[in-house]
Assembly symmetry: C3
């Protein structure tokens, strides 16, 4: 399990973490399979979305804030909208891996979704392989 930290800077933000996920993927040694990205928080989530026009990120935050009610909650910390938005986005993303690199669609990037910042957030990255990678025996080698 490899990890990195993100300073989110704002109350709400979609932060492109594609490069950092790819760097952490490199550390796992996985060459082919599925990269598993997990966020161990409850008011921040993960998603995939457009990597080109930054206005898409602003529009996603605007859309979610328009949908999720701003009042009527009982949780005393006042951040219930952030908990809901995080569950709507989810706490993990999975991305195919080929040749040791993320195999995303042309327009896809991986985003940390901060809904109750600014905070320091953690992101965990692993391959889908338990134990040391690669799990396959390399042809011709012994794995005793």
């Amino acid at each position: 399990m490899h990890s990195f930290q993100v300073e989110t800077g704002d109350k709400e933000a979609l932060i492109d973490i594609t490069g950092r996920v790819e760097k952490a993927l490199g550390e796992t040694g996985l060459k082919s399979g599925v990269c598993f990205v997990f966020i161990p928080h409850t008011t921040a989530g993960l998603t995939i979305n457009e990597n080109a026009d930054p206005s898409v990120r602003r529009d996603i935050l605007y859309g979610l804030s328009s949908m999720v009610p701003s009042r009527g909650y009982t949780h005393s910390e006042g951040n219930s909208p952030a908990h809901i938005k995080a569950s709507m986005m989810g706490f993990s993303v999975l991305v195919p891996v080929e040749g040791g690199r993320l195999k995303l669609g042309q327009w896809q990037g991986i985003y940390l979704c901060e809904f109750d910042g600014p905070r320091q957030r953690q992101v965990w990255v692993s391959s889908n392989v338990p134990g040391t990678e690669p799990v396959h025996p390399v042809p011709g080698t012994s794995l005793k």
Copy 2:
């Protein structure tokens, strides 16, 4: 594939299943990797969220019900909001595993999201490992 059943008790509820998932994980024998939790229903989902203040669970249910329209549907069973909420939460969660235990964030729990209860629901748990676990060559054995 290990499974357990949950009596959901109410029309809508977020039910903490973290302990039952961890027990099922123990039965899979997975020590390190990713735990896959799946719900084989269409009006109940799974999510991760805060494990401390139970008002967060009520607020999530309130927020979703405020968002999802209560009328205007064509499906004759009358439970279309439940289908939509389930898709918004999703039907699986993935959690890192280390030392045979779930490696969740400090405030994270795993929740079954009932949107059309009360019912008896199933939850399926497996490791990410096909076949018998562990898939790693046991130290000292050969896998040539």
Copy 3:
């Protein structure tokens, strides 16, 4: 990684791809584990939902369109609602596999969620197994 293409036909549609996923799963050779389905787009997503009454699919599209605001965006392409809906549904689904077949719940099907069509979309399918499948010891080899 196996893939197939889907002509979505409409501006918005939920298209049952369960059969095509199962066919692609057959090509991976995975017999037991988890099937990973990924969509490499940003205005289309994947979800699981009811496979029986087609009105559920229409109701899901109606519900999402009622929730997500139709205006107030800055992204010049005008498809920000599609980006938001795609992130709400997600870009991958995971399904247990037993005996080489998808192990879905009785009422579950896998859906491609088109939110900005009609377009030709790709769907990628792999097992959770890095490298060539199957990862299981090939019959005749030793894993003692």
